[in-house]
Amino acid sequence: MVIPGGAKTLAKRKASKDNKVKQQQQNAPNSSRSAGAGGSSSTMLKIYTDEAQGFKIDPLVVLIFAVAFIFSVVILHVLSKLSGKLL
């Protein structure tokens, strides 16, 4: 089969197709939930998952924050036990 326009058209077609795919990828939700297919059970709630422009936190920092919080509460308990009364 002869393609009208020859190889140039083919190249153009491919480029536009690539562009389209790229566009789709950029717009595509980057997690199952935002795509509408909730996490573990497909019918659970849909809750934020994408990138947003808040201030970014490394996941390790979240864990450290959590552990620090737990320790501070424990220390409060210990201090109040030691001093024998609440603050």
Partner: protein, 479 residues
Amino acid sequence: MSFRILELVTPFRPFLPEVLAPERKVPFNQRLMWTGVTLLIFLVMSEIPLYGITSSDSSDPLIWLRMMLASNRGTLMELGISPIVTSGMVFQLLQGTQLLSVDMDNKQDRELYQASQKLLAIILSIGQATVYVLTGMYGRPSDLGTGVCLLLVLQLVCAAIIVILMDELLQKGYGLGSGISLFMSTNICESIFWRCFAPTTVNRGRGSEFEGAILALVHLLLTKKDKRSALIEAFYRDNAPNMSQVFATAIVFCSVIYLQSLKIELPIKSTRQRGPYGLYPIRLFYTSNMPIMLQSALSSNLFIISQMLYSKFPSYLVVKLLGVWEPKRGSQQLAAVSGLSYYMQPPSNFTEALLDPIRTVLYVSFVLSACAFFSKTWIEVSGTSPRDVARQFKEQGLVIAGHRETSVYKELKKVIPTAAAFGGATIGALTVVSDMCGCLGSGSSILLAVTTIYGYHELAAKEGGFGKSVSSGFAELGS
């Protein structure tokens, strides 16, 4: 460009914390590790008591919601996941009813949507914490003093923010899936495990025995001379968890797993490229654990309202019709003894079900119909109705093999609503059965835990985990 409600969150966005998304796909073992560590933190937080509380031995007004919200009384996890779930529900409802126009294909919109969800969750947690402290759940505010009140609110809000962040961490691809359902089912599993192996002792006049069912069995078998009566006692004691309940739980567990695997597979093929047939599975539990969640949320809310009204105005006829509450034998906890709430409350064991057959019939029919109804409604709300699925098929260029392109909708309409309604009713029936057999923990909580864990297992299998043995996986982690 027109002004929209969603734009209101824009000024707050720089202040909302946000977990960094992973640069590339996190390997399965690492995701398992993240999930484990997060869970551990969650569990530790749900065991540490709040600093500054003086009393927490009154009747718990929220006992019906504890299971759903993964919360623990008097601990850092007092709020549990309620802020996230509430804000998620609100936004999904707003979006479902088209009050909030969000274009989910637009990245900008999605970002705004989730930022506002998070903002609402944080605001809700502050509000809830304040209400909890000021209504005197931990002792009268005047006794506590301003400093301790503030400290209590601060602790609760901090814990809530940590949970929000951990859920986000798990969802962004570090973990295996949704944090909310994970926390919920962990809490449930924990309580079931505790009832099996609790080392605490109860005394009912014949020496102390262990509260945990399995521990008690071993203890009674070892210490009693008459082995037969020891066995009977371990199986049928009524003041603490017993072995027959353990077996009932195991049976319910297995039957749920079996029922999970029932599905209809529609053969589908692509119209765009030639190739082999694929299968589109429609499970019996099409809406998974959603109907049971909605049903228990509905009845718990009704119980709470009725209890509150009864404690304030016990003499009104309407209030009495809604529910009359009296403390259960041997505990502070209230239970309904007549009125609408009584008929919506599960019978606590088989004898109770037999003693009041009218109540049993009403309760069973209520649960079955409510679950079927919620299931059918949920497919419309969540965008999994036959019409939506047919549209997805069309977008992806899929047709049901052996049918015309136009008849996809008709075929799906034959299967999906039936599956949803029947699946909802089945899940309701399972709840009723497990409540009447007196399983450890309520029927709905067991169902929730099993369906969530099964979902996780499926996900893990799809991700290619479990291919290698777990031990070799851990070896890799170490290296």
